[in-house]
């Protein structure tokens, strides 16, 4: 007993001494980042880029984020790199997206001893063999407008969406729908996914280009269910005052991963490190949650996770292997839902 007490006291003292040290190291990094004049963030995902910029600037005064949102971020960063131009510091994207850029040698690896340990960041946040840091997970759900659909009517399983009662009532954006069905395909097989995509398409699933359009169609009652939505995405919209709600659907669902990576040859390397690492700190995580980006990892205890747990729905977290499989399926699924392939 005394031995364990001694260990606990030791851990407490180490933690006490490490905490201010990590804060000091972070502050020193912040100073260096300030001297560089800010960080340039490139992303294809405006729903992430804008709020992350705002929260980072709040938490790190004097380190402005210059945001570049481009649907063709990979083409841009690759073309510029081939021409020997380095304009961006941090790339924020999905795991498979980052994987492509990493394959071209355009990312700088994180070294746990230098990049994480001094800041008290656990090694578990590393992904892509150390080239990226896990930022957040998006778990698939179905969104709807309260009042338009009765609670008892809501689907409980993915198969229920194929029922005749949902004919011409579903809508999703092209990329999200492709990703969602491909993600389910990772869990349940390619054959299941392609059949599922065909049946949804034949059942009148509407596929539009942007989430904002999906949202309007659901809000105005032209469509009733928003498929391919992330639970946190709906929570964010609720925070913005939009009348939407979401329901967990199972029996198993999938959580896509988004990560940050530092581009090799980043013109502002210290500011880039600060941006990537700050979101891994407790302060950064809290900022993410304030923005509606709740963690869904096991044991996270977030209310989104709890809603899935209460319904007994298993969440499968994406890793790099699954991410690459999802991408393999994505293009085919998207062709099917867009009507380019039978």
């Amino acid at each position: 007993m005394q031995k364990w007490l001694g260990v606990l006291v030791g851990v407490f003292l180490v933690a006490q001494s490490a905490a201010p040290q990590a804060a000091d190291v972070l502050q020193a990094l912040r100073e260096r980042a300030r001297r560089e004049g800010g960080v340039v963030l490139l992303t294809s995902v405006p729903q992430l880029g804008e709020p992350l910029k705002v929260r980072f600037e709040e938490g790190n005064p004097g380190v402005p984020v210059r945001l570049v949102l481009d649907p063709n971020a990979p083409g841009r960063v690759t073309a510029e790199a081939i021409a020997g131009r380095r304009s961006y510091d941090v790339l924020l994207w999905s795991l498979p997206g980052l994987s492509v850029v990493r394959g071209r040698g355009l990312l700088r690896p994180f070294v746990a001893r230098e990049d994480l340990a001094p800041y008290g960041i656990p090694v578990g946040v590393l992904t892509l063999d150390g080239y990226g840091l896990r930022l957040l997970s998006g778990v698939y759900a179905v969104a709807y407008r309260p009042g338009r659909v009765r609670p008892e009517e809501l689907p409980r399983t993915w198969e229920e969406l194929l029922q005749e009662r949902w004919r011409n009532r579903l809508v999703g954006d092209a990329i999200a729908v492709g990703n969602w069905i491909a993600a389910l395909g990772v869990l349940r097989g390619e054959e299941w996914a392609t059949q599922y995509a065909r049946r949804l398409r034949d059942g009148g699933l509407a596929v539009v280009p942007q989430p904002a359009t999906v949202e309007q169609l659901v809000l105005r009652g032209d469509r009733d269910l928003w498929v391919g939505a992330f639970a946190h995405q709906v929570e964010q919209r609720k925070q913005a005052g939009v009348t939407l709600e979401w329901v967990p659907v199972g029996p198993v669902t999938y959580a896509s991963q988004f990560a940050v990576a530092i581009l090799s040859g980043a013109p502002h390397p210290e500011a880039a490190r600060l941006f990537a690492l700050w979101y891994m700190t407790r302060e950064g995580r809290a900022a993410l949650e304030r923005e509606g980006f709740w963690d869904v990892a096991p044991g996270s205890g977030s209310f989104i996770r709890k809603r899935y747990d209460q319904r007994g729905i298993r969440i499968v977290l994406e890793d790099e292997r699954r991410a690459l499989r999802r991408v393999e399926l994505f293009e085919r699924i998207r062709r099917i839902v867009l009507g380019e392939e039978r």
Partner: protein, 596 residues
């Protein structure tokens, strides 16, 4: 007796060719000028076109077309040809969509132009302004307002229709007919401007001569007005068709929910990937047939129009405008027609922007409740430094683009109409063909060009201006229409008085064509001030423009701010157009002849 339009050569054959000898210095200057025109056109247009064709022949997975790992091949075309039922249906939809859109744009725009320019309908100046105003509204807002009116279940017009006891609806926004109507009406400002400009330049004495000779009003329209308007109507038609082929807002917002795929939405989805590099090769292979179609259409147009001087209506022997006096019933119907168009195209979208920017509850409740006025979005937009930077950058980039494009358009039109020859005829094709270049391909070409050749310009607002200048399709038609309506005798008179070539341009040609080219300049400026597709591919944080910022806010779900900025853009453009109209002083906008 049928009135006949005489070709100038038939009346005065001796005046058709160059009337005077040229000095050595002037010949040198002319050569230098012509070389400059060729060089600028090649830089702005040939390089993107070449990039397009070469990219379509480069094959490889997850590689950019210029990378060494890409190889030469025809696979992109084979895939297109063997695309299966999806492509066949897409081509059929595209054909119906483009043809229908063009017909709607010409019929509605042409009839509105005739009412405003050639009739005595009251309030013509106001209607002119209202019918030009939609050019300043971002296309995405026009699409949303169309959805609010004509969505099958909840569209205001359809709901009203059912409340009146009818079943179904007037029009389903999410259908091919809905797309045709939305895009066709969206192009009305363009056809309206092009046709009204030509109508304004039409000498009323030609019609009067026909009436005196016993022709009826429809007869005079068919035999006098129609032949003289053919260049403008042809240009408006071909531009409408090509713009409908390339623009993707309506196909995405109205077509995609109904599963109606057309050419532009296929291109859009081909370049938006989650993990891989965009399939530029396939996009280019899809774009090349569109480009070829553009060339064929232009060749047909030129053949149909025949020789340019047949359409000269502004000569050196006086000019008189005028029109048809409608009765009270005709005037009433005219006002109702123009009023409905104005409400649908101009007033509705602007009101919608106002509601979305100031009444957040209206939007978040799906327009079921208006809620209270909340200036939060406006405050946020006005506080953000990015807003002002974006608005200023847009002005610089679109101003530079419009000036370069119009300069090139006038130079090529003048050289082609006055000198003729294959080189200038080919240049004219080149300028118009830019309409068919998909923005994503033009953006990629520009990215490659300025990354390797003009690195100092890469990512700057100046580069955006140069890329915008490559969109010469509309301005080239404006410039050509303006130049074609000016008789050679005006220049000849100046030469006889001893003016140099430069002086003729500056003191004779330029003042006469100013209203026409100012209209074209403004069309280009306005279209690019709110442009986002090209800018999204090419901007850097310091060169963010208004269209990009609106897209960022819209996509991030900040609808109130996006609408506030959209409305700010509309207000700026209205002010710019009004100021330009005052400065131009020639009544190019909102002034009919009898009001001048």
């Amino acid at each position: 007796m049928q009135p006949r339009v005489y070709a100038r050569e038939e009346l005065a054959p001796g005046l058709a060719g160059p009337a005077r000898a040229e000095g050595f210095a002037e010949a040198l200057g002319r050569r230098a000028f012509e070389s400059l025109v060729v060089l600028v056109a090649a830089w702005l247009l040939l390089v993107p076109l070449l990039t397009l064709v070469l990219s379509s022949l480069r094959v490889g997975s997850n590689v950019l077309p210029f990378e060494r790992s890409a190889r030469w091949g025809l696979e992109n075309y084979w895939e297109l040809l063997g695309g299966g039922p999806g492509y066949g249906r897409m081509l059929g939809n595209t054909l119906v969509y483009v043809a229908g859109t063009t017909a709607v744009a010409l019929l509605v725009g042409g009839s509105a132009a005739w009412l405003v320019e050639r009739s005595n309908v009251p309030g013509r100046r106001l209607f002119y302004a209202l019918l030009v105003a939609p050019l300043m509204v971002p296309p995405v807002v026009q699409s949303i307002s169309w959805i609010l009116l004509f969505a099958p279940g909840t569209g205001l017009v359809n709901v009203l229709f059912r409340k009146l006891g009818f079943s179904g609806g007037v029009l389903n926004a999410f259908s091919l007919p809905g797309m045709v109507m939305a895009q066709g009406l969206g192009l009305v400002p363009l056809t309206f401007i092009l046709i009204s400009g030509a109508l304004r330049g039409l000498d009323v004495r030609l019609e009067e001569a026909a009436w005196v000779s016993g022709a009826t009003v429809p007869g005079a329209l068919r035999r006098i007005v129609w032949p003289l308007l053919r260049p403008a109507i042809g240009a408006a038609g071909i531009l409408s068709a090509l713009i409908a082929l390339e623009s993707f807002e309506i196909p995405l917002l109205l077509g995609a929910p109904a599963g109606v795929r057309v050419y532009s939405s296929t291109l859009y989805f081909a370049v938006h990937s989650i993990s891989a590099l965009p399939e530029y090769g396939k996009v280019a292979a899809l774009a090349v047939p569109g480009l070829a179609l553009g060339f064929v259409a232009l060749a047909g147009l030129r053949r149909w129009m025949g020789a340019g001087e047949r359409y000269t209506t502004i000569g050196g022997k006086g000019f008189q405008g005028g029109g048809v006096a409608l009765g009270s019933v005709g005037q009433g119907l005219g006002v109702a027609y123009l009023g409905t168009l104005s409400a649908l195209l101009a007033i509705g979208p602007v009101v919608l922007l106002g509601i979305m920017s100031g009444f957040p509850e209206a939007f978040s409740s799906g327009f079921e409740r208006l809620g209270g006025w909340n200036p939060g979005a406006w405050g946020q937009v006005l506080r953000e430094e990015t807003t002002w930077k974006a608005l200023a950058n847009s002005a610089v980039a679109s101003g530079l683009g419009a000036t370069l494009a119009m300069g090139l358009g006038v130079a090529v039109a003048w050289l082609d109409v006055r000198r003729g020859g294959r080189v200038w005829s080919g240049m004219d094709y080149l300028l118009l063909s830019s309409v068919t270049l998909p923005s994503v391909v033009l953006g990629l070409a520009a990215m490659l060009l300025y990354l390797w050749v003009g690195r100092g310009l890469y990512g700057t607002v100046w580069m955006l201006g140069l890329v915008y200048a490559a969109r010469t399709g509309v301005v080239s038609r404006s410039a050509r229409a303006a130049v074609m309506q000016v008789s050679r005798e005006l220049e000849e008179a100046a030469w006889v008085c001893g003016a140099s070539g430069a002086a003729v341009l500056r003191r004779v040609l330029f003042p006469v064509i100013l209203p026409g080219i100012l209209g074209g300049w403004l069309l280009h400026f306005v279209a690019h001030y709110r442009e986002s597709t090209l800018a999204l591919l090419l901007y850097q944080p310091e060169s963010v423009v208004a269209g990009v910022r609106i897209w960022q806010l819209y996509d991030a779900g900040r609808m109130g701010e996006a609408s506030a900025l959209g409305l700010l853009v509309v207000l700026i453009l209205v002010a710019a157009v009004y100021t330009a109209g005052r400065w131009g002083g020639s009544g190019w906008m909102g002034r009919t002849h009898r009001e001048r």
